[in-house]
């Protein structure tokens, strides 16, 4: 059945498999439904976290990320992933090493110690961009896979930073007011809404969540207020780390600032899973810190 499917090595990262396993399950199932096979990338590690490792020593960041790319090179496959942070590490390091001989030689010197070599034969993709790309899936095919349209749900889109920025190196175009994820959401029958300062950061990146959580949460809180201002049923994103910040962050915001939001937060793959008819249990939505129930009531 999957003979004609696109095949990718599936890079899991940390938070998706270890905190929101529903994203992992959803990604595999929903992708299969639109013609993408995600194969296990055995022995992959943390991407590693771009904020933490990039801040400590960029050389380690390059080498560790390169190791993950090499695993895919050895499989002879491109990488697909579901997390913006992973995208920043894996895509960017892959890109940099392909275009900077000095950097690549330095990394390969280290990788030699573990009998690996970065060759530059693999490409890296975020699943969301593959869904949008008509050469792979495309909005039309995505819409055709929907069995249970999310009609009536108003969804705010959070793009996250590390997927599209810095735009000078990336290929996504306008980062001030992009609309392609809105198209992905609309394909599922939901109504994407526009809100103030859509492209603002979730606040968690760069190690700030660990360094000064109140600071990070204040940014998250501002963003949630902007979203609620226009009336929404859920937030969707394509980054488990942003999800963690918006989802668990709401609990922390309540603890720290006494502000209550109660906005359900769903990874796009979870949203896609629901639209394709997966049950909340198949998506482990009960693991979310903020109950998804109100959103489910709206669409089921």
């Amino acid at each position: 059945m999957s003979g004609n499917n696109h095949q990718y090595a599936f890079f899991l990262g940390c938070i998706a498999p270890n905190r929101y396993p529903g994203i992992e399950a959803a990604a595999i199932q929903t992708s299969k439904n639109v013609g993408i096979d995600l194969l296990p990338l055995k022995g992959a590690s943390c991407c590693p976290a771009p904020g933490a490792f990039g801040s400590i020593d960029l050389n380690v960041w390059y080498a560790m990320a390169a190791r993950n790319v090499v695993l895919a090179e050895q499989m002879g496959m491109d990488i697909a992933l579901v997390c913006n942070g992973c995208y920043k590490s894996i895509w960017e390091v892959n890109h940099k090493l392909k275009h900077n001989d000095e950097l690549r030689d330095g990394v390969n010197e280290v990788l030699k110690e573990i009998d690996m070599e970065f060759k530059g034969t693999a490409d890296v993709w975020h699943l969301a961009e593959l869904y949008y790309d008509p050469k792979v899936v495309g909005v039309k095919k995505l819409a055709e896979s929907v069995k249970r349209p999310l009609t009536g749900a108003k969804v705010a889109v959070h793009y996250g930073c590390h997927l599209m920025k810095p735009s000078k190196e990336r290929h996504f175009g306008d980062t001030e007011n992009p609309m392609w994820m809105e198209e992905l959401v609309a394909a599922l029958g939901a109504e994407p809404v526009q809100y103030r300062n859509k492209m603002q950061c979730c606040g968690a990146g760069g190690g700030v969540r660990g360094f000064d959580i109140a600071h990070a949460l204040d940014i998250t809180n501002e963003k949630l207020i902007n979203m609620e201002e226009v009336g929404i049923d859920a937030v969707t994103e394509v980054c488990p780390f942003c999800q963690l910040q918006f989802d668990r962050g709401q609990i922390e915001i309540k603890e720290k600032f006494g502000v209550e939001h109660g906005v359900p937060v769903l990874h796009y793959n979870e949203l896609l899973g629901l639209a394709q008819g997966m049950s909340p249990d198949e998506l482990a939505l009960d693991l979310h810190a903020i109950s998804v129930e109100p959103f489910l009531k709206k669409i089921l």
Binding site: A25, M64, F211
Partner: protein, 193 residues
């Protein structure tokens, strides 16, 4: 060199401290280091403030990315690296996207953080991530509650990563050891206790 005043009263001495910028206090190598690590021509900054204006951290703190660029240009290494604001960048890259000089202030900040780490200046959470990855390959490792949830979903308890294939861990440790990262992390964390 700053004027030495030798006021006995420490509070007064701090209050009346010489705050002038003295050229000999600056390190001309600092901007070069920042540019080499950050791979951006930071000395071309013309201080327009687009970066700070774009920054989600600036409105809620004293963090001014423009000032860090300025300090880099002037070689004020000590001041830049010891400023705790350095760690408030969420790396959202809005400044990099909008910089009219085509610079990457975010990467300049990352470079300064790298340089700070060389002086053992680094928040503890960063080092804890290093330790976790050294141990398990993951910055956010699996736990029992999650294993149970995975099982319920029909997934294997351990994901197809270093969790399921721990034989890959020595390679990862080798890379980290190459840069003596674990060693330094352990040491700095221990000293901070």
């Amino acid at each position: 060199m700053a004027v030495k005043k030798d006021y006995k009263d420490q509070k007064l001495a701090e209050k009346l401290r010489d705050r002038k910028y003295y050229v000999p206090d600056s390190n001309p190598e600092f901007i070069k280091d920042v540019e080499k690590i950050g791979q951006t021509a930071a000395h071309m900054c013309y201080q327009c403030g687009t970066c700070t204006g774009s920054c989600p951290s600036a409105p809620r703190s004293s963090y001014r990315i423009r000032l860090f660029m300025r300090k880099a240009v002037l070689g004020l290494e000590e001041e830049a690296l010891t400023d705790p604001d350095l760690w408030l960048c969420t790396t959202c890259y809005s400044c990099t996207d909008r910089c009219p000089r085509n610079l990457a202030p975010t990467d300049a900040i990352m470079a300064m953080r790298n340089l700070a780490f060389k002086r053992d200046i680094i928040p503890r959470n960063f080092l804890q991530t290093v330790q976790l990855i050294y141990k398990s390959g993951h910055g956010v490792p699996n736990n029992d509650a999650n294993r149970a949830a995975r099982k319920k979903l029909g997934l294997e308890e351990e994901p197809e990563t270093t969790h399921k294939y721990p034989e890959y861990l020595p390679g990862i440790r080798r890379i980290l050891d190459h840069y003596r990262l674990k060693e330094n992390a352990d040491r700095i964390l221990a000293e901070g206790e």
